[in-house]
């Protein structure tokens, strides 16, 4: 009886818990190695990512191809915004905001 009650509770926890790590890991895995990841700030509502590289063409590829693909294959992502794009000492830094479905529920 105890085991059965516990199994029900475990299933309940697993079905209700958020998969934030999986979401972050999926997004980071899609960023090519040529980019250096400067910072990651993730919560259930959004993921703010800052990546840098010294190649502008890589940014073109990232924004026109990779990021839209990430948005398509990750249903939890509702919108993706560019929060900043700066250039400092020859390197470019891009700030991205991935807003999730949880943002709408708030």
């Amino acid at each position: 009886l105890v085991t059965s009650e516990r199994v029900t509770a475990i299933k309940n926890v697993i079905s209700k818990r958020s998969e934030l790590s999986q979401f972050v890991s999926g997004v980071l895995a899609s960023i090519p190695e040529v980019f250096s990841i400067e910072s990651v700030n993730a919560s259930l509502e959004s993921l703010a990512l800052s990546v840098s590289s010294d190649s502008l063409s890589e940014f073109d590829n990232l924004l026109s191809d990779i990021i839209p693909k990430v948005g398509k294959k990750t249903p939890i992502i509702k919108t993706i915004e560019i929060s900043s794009f700066t250039q400092h000492e020859g390197a470019y830094t891009l700030g991205l905001n991935f807003m999730t479905a949880a943002t709408d529920q708030k």
């Binding site: 009886l1 509770a9 475990i10 926890v13 790590s21 890991s25 980071l28 910072s39 700030n41």
Partner: protein, 214 residues
């Protein structure tokens, strides 16, 4: 007065039968009927009791047919996944194990234990969701590996949920909720019907145990 006397004399011979008839009616309504009703209630009680005995017999057979070692192992897996108490040492060990699995290192962690005694510590087992203990862990490593730390954590026991990740450079802090659930013995004691763990549930426990040991 004469009128009553005449009436009495006229119906004198009927007095006794009427008295007996009234007594019989009284007996039927106030003695026999309640007895019949109580017999019916008693029979219902007997039927419920025999049903309960039958259930207990089935439960006893189920218990007797179980492999004790296997049962202990399943219970151990279930309580490892969802401990019955706030187990700080197990949480520390899980954090270290997840760090090792993701090639990162655990720098520090802090726990928000909450109530440990008295009303604040009272958590009943019949909550719809399992309560959790909040932990903040600071982990060091390559930022791409840091996200793997959270993935490793989600596979490990006790069950946890990462609700926030803040990382820059080579460190990241994770806000994690570790779940636990006290056993509600009173609720379990009320149940007579003991059934064996379904094959699907056994398979589920094996699966999460395998994930934990990865």
């Amino acid at each position: 007065m004469r009128k009553y006397e005449n009436f009495y004399l006229k119906y004198k011979r009927l007095l006794l039968p009427v008295l007996f008839a009234a007594l019989a009616v009284f007996m039927v309504f106030f003695v026999i009927f309640p007895q019949i009703s109580s017999i019916s209630n008693l029979s219902n009680d007997i039927s419920a009791a025999s049903e309960r005995v039958q259930t207990l017999k089935v439960s006893l057979d189920t218990i007797a047919s179980q492999n004790e070692a296997e049962l202990d192992s399943k219970l151990s897996t279930a309580t490892d996944a969802l401990p019955t108490v706030k187990d700080i040492s197990r949480i520390f060990s899980t954090l270290n194990s997840a760090a090792a699995a993701s090639n990162t290192s655990l720098r520090e962690f802090s726990l928000e234990v909450g109530g440990v005694h008295g009303k604040a510590a009272e958590v009943t087992g019949d909550l719809p969701t399992a309560p959790s203990m909040s932990v903040v862990a600071r982990v060091e490593g390559d930022i791409r590996s840091l996200s793997e730390f959270g993935m490793a954590l989600s596979r490990k026991f006790p069950l946890s949920e990462v609700s926030k990740i803040d990382g820059s450079g080579d460190t990241a802090s994770f806000q994690i909720a570790f779940f636990y659930k006290p056993v509600n013995m009173s609720m379990i004691a009320e149940k007579d019907n003991v059934s064996a763990l379904s094959p699907a549930d056994s398979e589920f426990l094996n699966k999460i145990n395998l994930e934990n040991n990865k």
